[in-house]
């Protein structure tokens, strides 16, 4: 290796280093890809890393709901997640937007109470809610995506709910 390297000269070294970096990048890229595949979620909605700050802001603008009883609020959230799907499927945009905001407001309070829940579950719910708020505000309504997001929310909240009822 060293002999070949010496033979390349200055320009050759740059070319060689570039080549090595490319190989390293390709290798690490391939490994991560394969690894991500093995760790695939199996869920239909994913990738919270795609959130932009502006999208997160939509959730930030919503005020946390005042909660007297955590258990009742959790039940309301569960119920809203189901009725939201019905509103979307029946094309009731106004109702869907109202329910999405209420879910976000409830979640902002509930998330603080779910101290025993896995942090990644909380992040996923937040990502789903951001997605829901974004989609209900879009002029072009993607009902399939909204139901997919709602399903992800349903599964995520089901996992977190026990931590709210302790």
């Amino acid at each position: 290796m060293i002999i070949i390297h010496m033979g390349f000269g200055g320009c050759g070294i740059i070319r060689y280093v570039s080549l090595m970096m490319l190989v390293v990048l390709l290798l690490t890229g391939c490994t991560a890809g394969a690894s991500e595949g093995k760790k695939g979620s199996g869920a239909v909605v994913a990738d919270d890393s795609l959130q932009t700050d502006s999208k997160k802001d939509r959730l930030a603008l919503i005020e946390a709901a005042e909660i007297d009883d955590v258990s009742s609020a959790a039940e309301e959230m569960s119920s809203l997640i189901k009725t939201f799907k019905t509103a979307v499927e029946s094309d009731d945009r106004e109702e869907a937007a109202r329910q999405a905001e209420r879910m976000a407001a409830l979640w902002k309070s509930l998330s603080e109470k779910a101290v025993d829940a896995q942090p990644e579950k909380l992040q996923q719910i937040e990502a789903d809610l951001v997605g829901v708020l974004d989609e209900v505000a879009a002029s072009d309504w993607d009902k399939t995506r909204l139901v997919d997001l709602d399903y992800s929310l349903y599964q995520g909240f089901r996992d977190v709910k026990p931590a709210l009822q302790n």
Binding site: G37, K82, K85
Partner: protein
């Protein structure tokens, strides 16, 4: 005459008064029997039911099973040694130790006339025998060996297994439900090493490769005392597995209820399985009662897109069985094909994917999104948009782990719960 009548009345009252306490006492102290391998046992202090718990004389049972017992009167501690295992119990305390590891009893051991009575369940857990309760004869049935007949033979176990190896994903899920941590288990198809919904319960369990091709050398290294396999996947290596350890084979990978029952009998956890299945039946009945008339018997199409870009519909498998149990039907066009897995190679056959509802558990196996691109090609076509389910907003992409890849009891419950979401039921 009057005096004679009065005397009769008094006698009758006296008789009733005398009988009532005896009846009440009889109801309170119902006799409890114990059998070991079918032989009725007799004890100086009788087993009994206290606060709903069956308590049995531990020392006599341990000795009958070949254990040795010592008792320290000062600390009120009993130490039992059996088959290389040490069990430490203290009178009045729910905390015990098995080989140094802390365990909690359902109820504290009770001293009755110098005999320590312990909860029946603890006998099984600590002494490695199968314990079941026969309600009709009030008998605690203890078995020191069990023989399991299965499709590939007959397997005898000489004690409740402790080093358990599970070779199919549905079985791994069931082991979590039964609170038995396997020493080794096959890894999940995605989300490796184990599916996220059960992973936290499997910390320390060694992975043994793929369900379709488990790593035999790794199984040998674990020195299991039972291997739980399934005929669909492991018929070809059954002979090899049987030489490593007693191997029990379930008959159908997708029949989670049968798999649960078999595994619970092997692992001495029949009470958990019975309770889970009773709860399942209740929830199935609840779902059916809440399902609106328009959806009763709806034709359900269960589909996936394949890595090569073709698609398929399922008239078999885990999700299909659950839909059948819930009273749904199969699309007529699919039934007409007469195959369990219906290949749909091109858009010309797309109507085979239709139903009143379409549930799609396409899996992104490689994590590169290629298969999702194929899925998008299918769902973007004009022919797709013309399917009844699609036109009626009844096409759903569902969790491939809990609807297809796992196939366990806990997954079944999650899938059923998902159906409350999809059918809008409270």
């Amino acid at each position: 005459m009057i005096r004679r009548k009065m005397l009769s009345l008094l006698l009758a009252v006296a008789l009733i008064v005398a009988l009532v306490p005896a009846t009440v006492a009889g109801a309170a102290v119902k006799s409890v029997n114990v059998t070991i391998d079918g032989k009725k046992q007799t004890y100086s202090v009788s087993p009994r039911i206290e606060n709903g718990r069956t308590l049995v004389p531990y020392r006599a049972i341990a000795e009958a099973l070949g254990g040795t017992v010592s008792y320290d009167a000062k600390s009120k501690k009993a130490t039992i040694k059996k088959s290389g295992q040490t069990i430490e119990l203290t009178q009045g305390s729910k905390s015990a130790r098995i080989n140094g590891s802390a365990v909690t009893l359902d109820a504290a051991p009770l001293n009755v006339s110098g005999t320590l009575l312990v909860p029946l369940r603890f006998v099984g857990e600590s002494l490695g025998v199968w314990v079941t309760w026969n309600q009709s004869s009030s008998t605690a049935v203890l078995e020191t060996k069990r023989t399991f007949k299965h499709d590939l033979g007959s397997t005898t176990l000489n004690g409740v297994p402790k080093r358990v190896v599970v070779l199919f994903n549905g079985g791994v899920d069931i082991s979590v439900l039964l609170k038995v941590k396997p020493v080794g288990a096959v890894e999940s198809y995605i989300q490796q090493p184990f599916y996220e919904y059960i992973r936290s319960n499997l910390i320390g369990t060694k992975t043994l490769g793929d369900e379709t091709q488990p790593n035999v050398e790794a199984i040998v290294a674990l020195k299991p005392d039972v291997i739980i396999a399934t005929k669909d996947r492991h018929e070809g290596i059954y002979g090899q597995l049987s030489k490593i350890a007693p191997t029990i084979v379930t008959k159908d990978l997708a029949d989670w209820q049968d798999n649960l029952q078999v595994m619970s009998k092997v692992l001495n956890k029949e009470d958990i399985a019975t309770s889970f299945l009773a709860d399942w039946k209740k929830q199935v009945a609840d779902f059916k009662s809440k399902l609106p008339a328009k959806d009763k018997g709806a034709a359900i199409s269960i589909i996936r897109v394949n890595p090569n870009g073709t698609a398929r519909a399922y008239n078999t498998g885990f999700a299909y069985k659950i839909f059948q149990e819930l009273g749904f039907s199969t699309p007529k066009a699919q039934l007409a094909v007469g195959q369990e897995i219906i290949p749909v190679a091109s858009q010309e056959q797309i109507s085979l994917l239709d139903g009143d509802y379409i549930f799609d558990f396409t899996t992104d196996w490689d994590g590169d999104g290629a298969i999702l691109q194929h899925q998008k090609t299918w769902t973007s076509s004009a022919l797709w948009k013309n399917l009844n389910a699609v036109k009626n907003n009844k096409y759903y992409k569902v969790n491939s782990v809990t609807w297809n890849l796992s196939g366990g009891a806990l997954a079944a419950k999650l899938m059923l719960d998902d159906l409350y979401f999809y059918f809008g039921l409270e």
